[in-house]
Amino acid sequence: MIEVINLTKQYGQHKAIDNISFTVEKGEILGFLGPNGAGKSTTMNIITGYISATEGTVKVDGYDILEQPEEVKKRIGYLPELPPLYMEMTVEEYLKFVCHIKKVKPQKQKEVLGKVMNAVKITDMRKRLIKNLSKGYRQRVGLAQAMIGEPQVLILDEPTVGLDPKQIIEIRNVIKSLGKDHTIILSSHILSEVSAVCDRVLIINKGKIVAIDTPENLAKRLSQSNKMLLRIKASKDKALNIVKGVKSVKTAEITGSREPNTIDIVVEGKEGLDIREDLFYAFKSTDYPILMMKSLDLTLEEIFLQVTTQEQAIDHESISISEENDAQHEETDGQQREDGEDVSNN
């Protein structure tokens, strides 16, 4: 549906995006991840035809953005970073104007307006002036605008930025439901959002693609899935002895003690083996209870940080995680998971 081929955008000496290529299949939701200034918005602006690329091409539904811009623009609904709203218009006036410029047939206009306002729940606000709306509602009007004209492709630049958690969930659900019959590219800072909504994630840094894969595969590829963090109520030596006695364990290392009378051990299993059951049975018959057993899978946040901060990782596209980082991960891990849950529980 969308083909991006060798896209480069140069501002003077600075390359905002550097030789990017990817494709998005019909009906797919692709997430754009990257730190500020990575080139997310630039890429989106080029796909939508707002700015032009220095080199490379973009094809939407087989049409080239340079050769047949009208055909491409007809197929795309775009919500830029800052929703392009006319403050002095009411919501309804604005959406009618968008209907006009997107050449919606006059007899269908009413139906289209009703549909999009319903989808983002702004029907009650339709007589209000846009300048009097809160940021969340403005964002929704922007989203409604993008949906007008039945575009097959939606490009959403940080659609949930500035919204409260409840609104984020709502907009996210709207996007998910839109994903059933649209091809969507969305960018986001909130990584849990990307993993919740997107089929595939594209991580971009300094204008280059660092990784593109499904959220699960990214996690798997980068995770130390065979590593477990154990917290055991026992003394150092005893716990370590028992752990080392388990056949499937490859290495075990004490990382310290966080609670009184307990010990934390990072255990690495042999390749392809699940060590959880073995560990359980090993401690079952002893007087030393397992207080916690946690897989050291990386969250998307950690993957993101890893790929965007490690030069080596970028070059080799495979990441080996140094033992030193482990301790850091543990600390941030719990915190971030909690944050994520906060959002989704609301």
């Binding site: 795309i76 800052l82 392009p84 006319y86 002095e88 218009m89 006009h100 050449k103």
Partner: protein, 287 residues
Amino acid sequence: MLAIINKELRNYFASATGYIFMSFFLLISGIFFSITNLFEQNPVYNNVLSSITFIFLFVVPMLTMRLIAEETRQKTDQLLLTSPLKVSEIVLGKYFAALLLFLLTLFITVLYPVILSFHGKIAVGEIVGGYIGFFLLGAAFISVGLFISSLTDNQVVSAVVTVITLLVLWIMEGIIMGLPTDRKSSIVFMAILVIAIAALFYNSTKNIFISAAIVIIGAIIMVAVYLINPALYDGVIVRIFQWFSLLERYQSFSYGIFDVSSVVYFITFSCAFIFLTIQTIEKRRWS
């Protein structure tokens, strides 16, 4: 394009701009009509039109300062430029909206000659010609304002630069009188012009060969003209600057002369600036 015209017209009246423009225009024209025609008991209406041309200096920036600058500042140009509309449709829509408001206001002033006609015979043909000239002059100024609005994202800058530019166009006749007409300065001026065009070309394309070619071809033409007919250089500067002397063209209309070449001139002038506006917007997307 209709959608843009509609939106811009609505915007003129949603903000105070439209009302201020109309009331200011009607107030000034009303005062001049009263003084020139009514109090003096003078039936020549075209005098009113030619004496109120100065209000373009104030009302044109009012109409045009916002048109494109505000879209750029609010980033609403993202909506327009990513919609299936062509850039030319957007620019023309905005131009026509300003033109329509101007025309509407001008239409109200038709009341004045109608009032005159109650008191005696008026020269209908002459007045219609005067109105056409006045409208074309305004249309040309609006195109300049539109172009300047596309150069900046600041309304105030847009307005100030428009006033200054219109002022320069205004006093063009005076400037022309002070310009040298001898051959030597003409040649120097042409040389500077050729180099400036080449520099501009280099700046936008970064192609040194074509820029150099422009300089060389320009030099060859200049030498050729000098060898064949050096008299062509006499008064070149004046002739070039005269091209921008809009008021001089307008004068013939106010005398009741309907000059087709002036009509063509005004339309060409407006088209040139609309074209430049479109190019500015396109260029910004490429750089």
